[in-house]
């Protein structure tokens, strides 16, 4: 009877306590932990940034996943028990967190001011990690003639069927206004007025029943391929990779795309502050910065990196698609107005 022996040894509690203690010992020097949205992105991070960084500096680094929610950062910062060192995120969590004092204010550090970041690529707490665009992808063979602009997602008459949209007011409100006839240059001015916000939500209301909301960037290709939606907004790299690597029968539409910069932030008070800065600075080396696009067509954030981008990925990078139809995402707007809009959006979407 093995159970008897287990208890016979009389070490029930001893064993469990030992095991617990052994594993709970906070690692004396915690590995540098870099956090991004998971999936392919994390794999690319490991390949082009973490691996070479460790090789270069001897500092070991690990990846973790988050979904952009600030609560964990806040809990960590307030309890002083910080396990994340470098956060990669879209602009709004970094900006909002910055105002709440959750991130180190490193925007004036010469490490970054002198790195040659593109315009808008450096804020109080955020250091540009990559550029990306929100585009539209649709499954071939459903419509005789596919959608021609991202804003066609609001055209349920020409293109009936369920459509995928990110479950966030970010992009959705801007696109709603453009689809409703607001000029690209006036989008943020309009959205700054209560009437503009009402107008955007009213436009969203017209397609609410047809929307399937996605939250993670891996979802749009999956939703398209499983037939849940006929078209979906998507980050440009996810759609491009699905087409090139995974045999997905999709077409990407760039007209009216929203181009944005993703940022690194450093949770305030981390013991690995120096290593974190070192890591971010490392990713800003032009060649290193450009390497990301070899695996995922997100664009570099330092000007000098342009020279190292492989020519065949250029057409898939957001930079090539910035024109008078496309909107440049305004992180500053979301930092000041985001709270109210996010709150309104969450209650709207849950009804």
């Amino acid at each position: 009877m093995s159970w008897t022996r287990l208890f016979d040894s009389g070490k029930l509690f001893g064993v469990s306590c030992l095991a617990a203690l052994a594993c709970a010992q906070p690692a004396l020097s915690r590995d540098l932990t870099v956090v991004s949205y998971g999936g392919v992105t994390n794999e690319t991070f490991e390949k082009v940034w973490l691996g070479p960084f460790t090789e270069e500096t001897g500092i070991s680094a690990v990846m973790d996943t988050w979904s952009g929610d600030l609560a964990k950062v806040r809990a960590m910062v307030e309890s002083g028990n910080i396990v994340w060192d470098v956060m990669d995120a879209t602009a709004e969590p970094i900006e909002i967190g910055c105002e709440q004092g959750l991130f180190e204010k490193v925007g004036d550090d010469p490490l970054f001011t002198e790195a040659g970041l593109i315009k808008g690529g450096l804020t109080e707490c955020g250091i540009g990690s990559m550029t990306y665009a929100t585009i539209l992808a649709y499954k071939n063979g459903i419509f005789p003639e596919g959608p021609t602009a991202v804003t066609d997602i609001f055209d349920t008459e020409t293109y009936p069927g369920k459509r995928g949209l990110r479950k966030s007011p970010v992009d959705a409100l801007e696109l709603a206004l453009i689809a409703d006839g607001v000029a690209v240059d006036d989008v943020y001015a309009t959205l700054s007025t209560p009437e503009g916000v009402d107008r955007a939500f009213a436009k969203l209301d017209t397609i609410k029943d047809d929307i399937i909301w996605w939250e993670a960037s891996a979802q749009p290709p999956q939703l398209l391929m499983s037939g849940q939606v006929v078209m979906s907004t998507s980050y440009n790299a996810r759609a491009a990779l699905a087409i090139s690597n995974d045999n997905a029968d999709l077409t990407m539409v760039w007209a009216n795309n929203v181009t944005a910069i993703g940022f690194f932030g450093i949770p305030k008070g981390t013991e690995n502050l120096e290593e974190a800065k070192k890591f971010i600075a490392f990713t800003l080396l032009p060649q290193v910065n450009a390497a990301f696009s070899d695996y995922q067509p997100y664009g570099p954030t330092v000007t000098a990196a342009g020279a190292f981008v492989k020519p065949d990925v250029l057409p898939n990078l957001p930079a090539g698609h910035i024109d008078e139809d496309s909107l440049v995402f305004d992180g500053g707007f979301w930092a000041t107005q985001g709270d109210a809009l996010i709150a309104r959006f969450s209650s709207w979407v849950a009804q």
């Binding site: 009877m1 469990s16 979802q219």
Partner: protein
Amino acid sequence: MRHYHDLPLWVRLPLYAFVALALAMMVLPLAAALPISLNVDPWFVYPFREFSLRWFEALLSPRWTGAIVNSVLIAVATTLLATGLGTLAAIGLANPRFPFRNLVMVLGLAPLIVPVVVLALGLYIFFGQLSLNYTFIGVVIAHTLLASPFVVITVTATLTRFDFTLMRAAASLGAGRVFAFRTVMLPVIAPGVGAGAILAFAASFDEVVMMLFISGPQQQTVPKLMYLGMRENINPTIIAAAVVTIAFTSVLMAATYRLNRGK
């Protein structure tokens, strides 16, 4: 005992058909979904372009193997703690002189009834003050909270069939409490304790809500990766992991079945 044979055929046939359909509803989705793990493309649709083991290979990545090791470590620690606490408590509760027995029993089962998300929120706030969030101990405590009722239930059920005269007999033969517990009670109730331990293990091994609230990057587990995968990195690796998990829990289930059969 086979009293359904008393039913006429016109009742029995539709009854069987209905039950078969209901059970099919339970089992068939699994059967239909698991082969997706062999699809070469990352899409969850039939037919496949090609078969491939790439998603099983993906399970061998450090991310997944680390999660498997974590899951097992956490589940083992949880099992030991929950089994120890739960078994002792069940033995205490078996004593009719236990003060406020019903109330304590309700308390012991409460972690099953209170919504996990509420417990998780409470622990999250409470652990924040103790700096137990994102620690191995915190996760084990949370899992033990959820797993201990299973041990209390199974051991209590076993103890209702336990003849406490055996303990008196052992005492009359000169055995002290602890010796009698080890040599007489524990071996006799071992199947119940074992079943409780397996349930506790399974409860911890499958748990995801608590993990979402209080686990940190050092405590990634298989269910947490699966959940994140379903939201963030949707590809058949999750299903490959499911295949492995199902194989694993089937072994556990067979073990419980054997333990329950006796000896």
